[in-house]
């Protein structure tokens, strides 16, 4: 018996030592080329396709899926609807369990492009005769373009604007014109006038700037610059200070950053007791989709909207949409390409528009707020076909405000450290808003950290 134990243990022992040795030995190998030469795509798709991150399980999403399925007759699509997550993505790459196509935030695209984890899609677009330059808004295209190549198939561009709670504003004797972000002093005074508190905590915000949710809007809107043409971070650029200063004045006038954040974290944002129903905000920066959330409560809210205006007084917006990317290790890149383009083609959006309209007919009086696809042609066609007068002037005005600004979007600037730039910017804004650091100091610290990440990128 002992002998049997011994043999098996010895076998296990030697196996483990071998594994250890193999593991040690393989770490000193030569570098390989990242293989970023643009691959060619075959427009004919077949086989099976594994997709991840497409989480639009609503009518718009399912109608587009159905449409794409019809276009890719012979392809079996397996869909993982969970959200994209950076750690999850790299874990999948490492374990060889990599999907063929992934939907992620457009800001992460350049980062994975720089690491060689995804492939350029110029060949994909040309194989299907899609011209990105003509199809997408310039800012949308620029967000997924890095080092002269396009790395993602973009979808959705939902610009932020300022939704106004007209009920509260009228009561206070103010007008829409008081919410002009190009005149910060006036804006701060307005916010202060409308702000209410109870026991030292906010009970109503005069103006909720959503500082950490929309950092790009405030910084770029006041003329800031987050990255240079190479994607190198420029957080310490003096032009970035203005936006933070305005945010700080705004929040300090309303109880300060921490109290505002705790207050707004407890909003029932998606429910019947949302901040516009309960008059918890007089005005708030919101992306276009939020109008959809408010639409069912049309009788309980009185809203309007004004665009965000840059220092020059012109409407300004910046947003990050999503993009489909194809990992370098994808097993079926041709089907991935065909699927992503089918899902985001004009006809898919038309199907989505029809489905949305169909859904809304089930609810009498429901409001169609339109779809913001990232493509001017699709946006306009759907608007003229489906977005009609709702009978509520405030909603109509809000909807058309979003349509007015969608073309004035600006790109964040694709950067291989785009995600770090965003998180460092958010950190810097929060540190400055809390008063821990001056805006300059906070930005300088953020720049140091983002630059460190940039310098650590593998050199080609």
């Amino acid at each position: 018996m002992i002998r049997r134990v011994r043999t098996s243990v010895l076998a296990a022992l030697s196996a483990s030592v071998l594994i250890g040795a193999a593991a040690c030995g393989s770490s000193g190998s030569d570098p390989g080329a990242a293989g970023s030469s643009a691959p060619a795509f075959n427009p004919q798709a077949s086989g099976s396709l594994r997709a991840w991150g497409f989480n639009n399980a609503d009518d718009v999403g399912t109608s587009r899926l159905t449409y794409a399925k019809g276009q890719l007759g012979g392809v079996t699509v397996t869909l993982d609807q969970t959200d994209f997550d950076a750690q999850k993505f790299v874990t999948r790459v490492a374990s060889g369990n990599v999907p063929d196509v992934v939907q992620m935030g457009a800001q992460s695209v350049a980062s994975y492009a720089a690491q060689g984890l995804i492939q350029p899609l110029d060949g994909c677009f040309s194989a299907h005769q899609v011209d990105p330059a003509k199809t997408y808004y310039g800012s949308v295209r620029d967000d997924v373009t890095y080092q002269g190549k396009i790395w993602g198939v973009p979808q959705f561009y939902q610009p932020p604007a300022i939704i106004l709670n007209e009920r509260v504003i009228k009561q206070a004797g103010l007008t829409d014109a008081d919410f002009d972000t190009s005149k910060p002093d006036q804006l701060v005074a307005t916010a202060k006038k409308l702000y209410q508190q109870k026991g030292g905590n906010p009970s109503r915000l005069g103006f909720d700037p959503v500082a950490s949710g929309q950092p790009g809007l405030w910084i770029l809107g006041y003329g800031g610059k987050l990255a240079d043409d190479q994607g190198k971070p420029t957080l310490d650029d003096p032009s970035n200070v203005k936006g933070i200063e305005v945010l700080k004045q705004l929040e300090d006038a309303q109880g300060g950053y921490a109290k505002i954040k705790s207050f707004s974290d407890a909003f029932d944002t998606f429910g019947a007791g949302n901040q516009f129903v309960k008059d918890q905000v007089a005005a708030q920066v919101d992306a276009q989709w939020y109008v959809n959330v408010l639409a069912p409560y049309v009788d309980k809210v009185q809203i309007g909207a004004v665009p965000f205006r840059g220092s020059d007084g012109q409407p300004f917006t910046v947003a990050s949409g999503q993009a489909f990317v194809i990992p370098t290790a994808a097993k079926n890149k041709d089907a991935a390409c065909a699927w992503a383009l089918a899902l985001t083609g004009l006809d898919a959006w038309k199907a989505a528009g029809a489905a949305r309209a169909q859904t809304l007919t089930k609810t009498p009086g429901a409001i169609n707020t339109g779809l913001f696809t990232g493509q001017p042609q699709a946006d306009q066609q759907l608007r003229s076909q489906y977005v009609k007068k709702s009978g509520n002037a405030g909603f109509d005005q809000t909807i058309s405000t979003y349509y007015d600004i969608v073309g004035s979007g600006k790109s964040f600037g694709a950067s291989p450290v785009g995600a770090q730039i965003q998180s460092e910017l958010t950190n810097a804004i929060e540190a400055a808003l809390r008063g821990d650091k001056t805006p300059q100091q906070a930005l300088a610290d953020g720049q140091a950290a983002a630059l460190r990440a940039y310098d650590q990128l593998p050199k080609k």
Binding site: A22, A23, D80, Q87, K88, D265, F267, D268, T269, G271
Partner: protein, 319 residues
């Protein structure tokens, strides 16, 4: 500060590593009344002390009461801190199963925790037996090493262990979550060895006379007699594995949501429902799920309290 007992560090410093560790065995129970400070006698003092202890108990229990209440509230009231919900929403307990694959997570966690517990209990017992009953060159040094690994921060070996599992092609499987348990674990080896040392040697002598080999002595005598400490190991490891968030995050996050363990699943739910990430703030489901993953641990404790306390007491005694 005057001290009646003079600290005698000299002796301790001179003692070789691990020398104090052969002290009292697990089962040493000291009869109450002879050791420790005398319990308070007067009724007034007892009442005051009890009140104080009840106060602490409230602090420790409050989060549970809060959690139970929150799990029964509709979304808009989760934040209201009422211990009795204004609106009862028991439907949360039904809906959560559609919102989250809780059943899959629980089953996965149970399988992994069972595998982890059984494997580590068997392997640690084998190793402890070797250290307790055999004389071989380097035994002291090796046992010192066993104890030293207890102090090794897990973060230090996190990356290389990940790469080892990667080379074994085991990423995305459950093996990394219990595979290393095949090789025993320092604390359990220590625990089991202490127990073995307390067993009467004569039993083994008698068995040897009857012709039993070492392995037979282990399976027929040592193991059956060490059931209490074996159970301690099973319970401790089951709990540790059930609560293991980091491991699941590293090794399973890339998998299908249905493959997650309970802790990773809760984190996923917190993430998905978080308004900061575009979730709808459905914290009532997070609360239900949190309660449901905690319950098995409370049941485990209800049945195995004795073992948990005894196991921890041993931890202190090795100091």
């Amino acid at each position: 500060m005057s001290s009646i007992v003079r600290p005698a560090g000299r002796t301790a410093a001179a003692a070789p590593a691990g020398a104090q560790l052969t002290g009292p065995v697990v089962t040493t129970t000291v009869r109450s009344g002879r050791r420790g400070p005398r319990p308070v006698g007067s009724t007034v003092a007892r009442v005051l002390l009890t009140l104080l202890l009840v106060g602490f108990a409230c602090l420790f229990v409050y989060p549970f009461a809060w959690l139970i209440a929150a799990s029964l509230k509709p979304r808009a009231e989760v934040f209201d801190n009422a211990l009795i919900p204004k609106t009862f929403s028991p439907a949360n307990y039904v809906e959560v199963w559609q919102q989250l694959p809780l059943l899959n997570w629980s089953v996965n966690s149970v399988i992994i925790a069972l595998a982890a517990a059984v494997l580590v209990a068997i392997s640690s017992s084998l190793v402890a037996y070797g250290f307790a009953f055999f004389r071989f060159p380097g035994r002291r040094l090796l046992f010192g090493l066993v104890l030293a690994t207890m102090m090794l921060p897990g973060a230090v070996t996190m990356v290389p262990q990940y790469l080892i599992w990667k080379y074994l092609g085991a990423l995305g499987t459950w093996f990394p979550l219990f595979g290393a348990n095949l090789f025993g674990s320092a604390f359990y080896i220590f625990l089991q060895r202490q127990f073995f040392l307390g067993l009467p040697r004569e039993l083994f002598e008698a068995a040897r006379v009857d012709g039993a080999g070492y392995l037979t002595q282990f399976t027929r005598i040592a193991l059956p007699l060490s059931v209490p400490s074996f159970v301690i190991i099973l319970l401790f490891e089951f709990q540790a594995s059930w609560n293991n968030f980091t491991g699941a995050l590293i090794y399973l996050n890339g998998n299908d949501v249905k493959d997650y363990t309970a802790p990773l699943g809760i984190a996923y739910a917190m993430n998905t429902f978080n308004p900061s990430n575009g979730g709808h703030g459905d914290y009532q489901y997070v609360m239900v799920a949190s309660l449901l993953v905690t319950l098995p641990m409370l049941v485990l404790f209800a049945f195995g309290q004795r073992y948990f306390i005894e196991g921890l007491a041993t931890t202190g005694r090795k100091g």
